[in-house]
């Protein structure tokens, strides 16, 4: 396993108005690994995740201090463009949110937006490749021009993953991507994650210990806005250093 540092979060504090949501969080995310964020509801997992692609910029009352280095460059620096950042850092949401457009147009959304293709063939190729990567192509190849909202929940989520992959990101953020899905659809997404990590760095928020254990290489446990413990998933689950982590993993908090 290559031990390349992809994202380095240093002493991050996040405030929503007067309320502090993250306290001095420091976390390293390694390239082409899956890092899972776990912890009880309201502990700040989504907040941390959204800092990595600056989606918190959209929340008026949100203030951030600390550093987030992506390939050693601070993403919050004035010279950094959030649009380019979000091309590099894709996001998949808790609830599948395909646009009310055709399957094709959903996947083509990003490439068109950023003018990534010169010809229709290029665009077709990107769409097909992205759908194949998300394991959806075989299921939808006959109905690419039907609305994406007509797919099943699991298919919609994979469509959203394909949409994110179409702009060729380096990092994929996933906020509880399986919480609206049944076990079979969940298993498909988990397989997909295992495949995608060959090419992408993935950060996933999950409420399921089993899922974290199954898909992730590293796990970070958060509690009330603080990062309590981080390490290799195997170590965290078999031999947690911190009492709170142990309580959570064994089901005593949560």
């Amino acid at each position: 396993m290559t031990e390349n540092l992809k994202v380095s979060i240093r002493n991050l504090n996040v405030f929503y108005g007067k309320k502090q949501a993250l306290f001095d969080v420091s976390l390293n995310i390694m390239e082409k690994e899956v890092t899972s964020l776990i912890g009880p509801s309201g502990c700040g997992k989504s907040t941390l995740l959204k800092c990595i692609n600056r989606m918190n910029d959209l929340v008026e009352i949100c203030n951030i201090n600390g550093q987030i280095l992506l390939d050693s460059v601070d993403i919050n620096e004035v010279s950094q463009d959030p649009v380019l950042l979000r091309m590099k850092v894709g996001m998949v949401f808790q609830k599948p949110n395909p646009f009310p457009k055709s399957i094709y147009d959903n996947v083509a959304f990003g490439p068109r937006l950023h003018g990534m293709t010169k010809s229709k063939e290029d665009l077709d190729n990107i769409v097909i490749q992205s759908l194949s990567k998300s394991g959806l192509y075989e299921e939808v190849k006959d109905r690419l021009y039907e609305p994406g909202t007509g797919l099943s929940g699991g298919q919609q989520q994979r469509l959203c993953i394909a949409r994110a992959l179409a702009v060729n990101p380096q990092i994929l953020l996933m906020d509880e991507p399986c919480s609206a899905l049944d076990p079979i659809a969940t298993a498909k997404i988990e397989d997909l994650i295992a495949e995608l990590k060959q090419q992408y760095t993935i950060v996933i928020v999950t409420h399921s210990m089993q899922q974290a254990a199954r898909v992730s290489d590293r796990t970070a446990y958060m509690h009330m806005g603080e990062l309590i413990e981080t390490g290799m998933t195997k170590t965290i689950f078999s031999n947690p250093q911190h009492e709170k982590t142990q309580d959570y993993i064994t089901g005593r908090i949560g």
């Binding site: 008026e60 091309m87 949401f93 949110n97 646009f99 959304f109 990003g110 937006l113 702009v167």
Partner: protein, 455 residues
């Protein structure tokens, strides 16, 4: 007297409420009652009040009926019902002092006396009958407080009946209006050909006043009136659509919570300004402005009543309407779609253009159509700013007239109620009603469809 009666039976009802409620609450200390104490109270109040009020409501109706029947008895020797009606009307007129014409018939004076006696006793009788009824029902209602008594069910039923009656009333009034419109329209088409009306190019109903004049039949070609309406509505939408839509987009996508919390209510207040105020505004501010502009660009034939002025003010009037409805449509788009697009690296305006507007397109079209139907149906501004001359023109600087303005012109002042001139107003109104109905149905169907998509 009637006021006093109302106070009396209301107090009785309140008293019944209190009595039954307290009796029931004492009972409920030791029993599990079917109905809560206040239902027992309400039951008594209803029983005391409702029949009495209903009787009061129909009283004069009933009295008139009785009066008529008994008055007829005085003229039982006459067989012609029309004549009887004439005599009884004469009796009532004389008895009330409206005329002093005495009809030469043996029954006349006795009938007058009978009528006066009836009227005199009427009020007293009304008071006695209704208060007695109410009192009896009040006594009667007090017996019902029992553990098993289903007061709640009765009250529930009464409430349903009241609501159903209101709904039926509203629907019947609407149907009545539409039907009367339809019948008057049909009467109009007795004297004027339908095709002449719908496709005729000349509108000058005023001719019909004097029978000996040339062209005394008037000219009822409605095309200029409808083109005038369309021209003004078009100008209005040209003003209102961009401004309304952009402000809605700004408010729903860009404005901070703080700005939004002020701006949205202000827009809704604007929508509530009486249209006559906009009419003033058109005459006092906008008309001189356009005239000066015209003078500046050396247009000399700029009239102070023109489609342009009326249309622009009408447009200003519907801006808040368009803005508010469009804003509703835009904010109905789930936040998750907006976030999804932004997370793909789209800017806010790209997101609005490529995701939010397409997703709420139905709603936007619906609000646009509702605004058009508002513009077409608007009267006050156009009366004040557009004028009465029904010119067939598409020149915005000309004075044109609209359907609503013509209707106002046709129906104000002294009019015979069966001349084609007056009846033509109904025909215009009917066509207008039909157009706005179709627009509303289409737009509401569209709006409904997009609501369903996100629920």
């Amino acid at each position: 007297m009637t006021v006093f009666l109302l106070i009396l039976i209301s107090s009785l009802a309140v008293y019944g409420f209190i009595l039954n409620k307290s009796k029931a609450s004492v009972m409920s200390d030791t029993n599990i009652m079917h109905s809560q104490p206040h239902y027992h109270g309400l039951y008594s109040a209803f029983i005391t009040l409702v029949p009495a009020i209903l009787l009061l409501f129909f009283w004069s109706f009933i009295v008139n009926m009785i009066t008529n029947i008994t008055l007829k008895d005085f003229f039982s020797d006459i067989t012609d019902t029309g004549l009887i009606k004439f005599y009884t009307d004469g009796v009532i007129g004389y008895a009330e002092g409206a005329t002093d014409k005495i009809i030469n018939h043996a029954g006349f004076m006795p009938a007058v006396e009978h009528y006066q006696a009836l009227q005199h006793n009427n009020k007293i009788l009304q008071f006695i009958v209704i208060s007695t009824l109410s009192l009896m029902l009040f006594r009667y209602s007090l017996k019902f407080v029992e553990v098993e008594f289903k007061a709640r069910d009765y009250i529930e039923r009464v409430i349903v009946i009241v609501m159903r009656a209101s709904a039926v009333f509203a629907i019947f009034v609407t149907i009545g209006i539409v039907l009367s419109l339809l019948f008057e329209t049909l009467r109009f088409f007795d004297s004027v050909n339908v095709f002449d009306f719908l496709f005729g190019l000349h509108w000058s109903p005023q001719m019909a006043i004097r029978a000996d004049q040339v062209g005394s039949s008037g000219s009822f070609g409605a095309v200029p009136v409808f083109t005038g309406t369309l021209l003004i509505a078009f100008i209005a939408m040209t003003v209102a659509t961009p401004i309304g839509m952009f402000s809605a987009i700004y408010l729903s996508q860009y404005a901070s919570e703080n700005i939004r919390s002020y701006a949205k209510p202000i827009i809704e207040i604007l929508a509530g300004i009486p249209t006559v105020v906009y009419g003033f505004f058109a005459v006092i501010t906008v008309a001189p402005f356009f005239r000066d502009m015209g003078a500046f660009f050396s247009f000399t034939n700029m009239s102070s009543e023109s489609a342009l002025i009326a249309g622009s003010v009408l447009g200003i009037m519907i801006i808040p309407f368009v803005a508010s409805l469009t804003d509703d449509a835009l904010t109905a788009v789930p936040r998750s779609l907006k976030e999804g697009s932004l997370a793909m690296g789209a800017t806010l305006s790209e997101t609005t253009k490529k995701v939010i507007i397409p997703a709420s397109f139905h709603g936007i079209v619906g609000s646009f159509l509702l605004a058009v139907s508002r513009a077409i149906g608007e009267t006050m501004i156009v009366v004040m700013a557009a004028g009465f001359a029904a010119n067939l023109t598409f020149n915005p600087f000309d004075s044109v007239s609209t359907v609503t303005v013509q209707i106002v012109g046709l129906l104000t002042g002294d009019q015979e109620f069966d001349s084609p001139k007056t009846l033509s107003a109904f025909a215009l109104a009917f066509v207008l009603f039909f157009i706005t109905l179709v627009l509303n149905v289409i737009s509401l169907t569209i709006v409904k469809k997009y609501r369903e998509e996100y629920e």
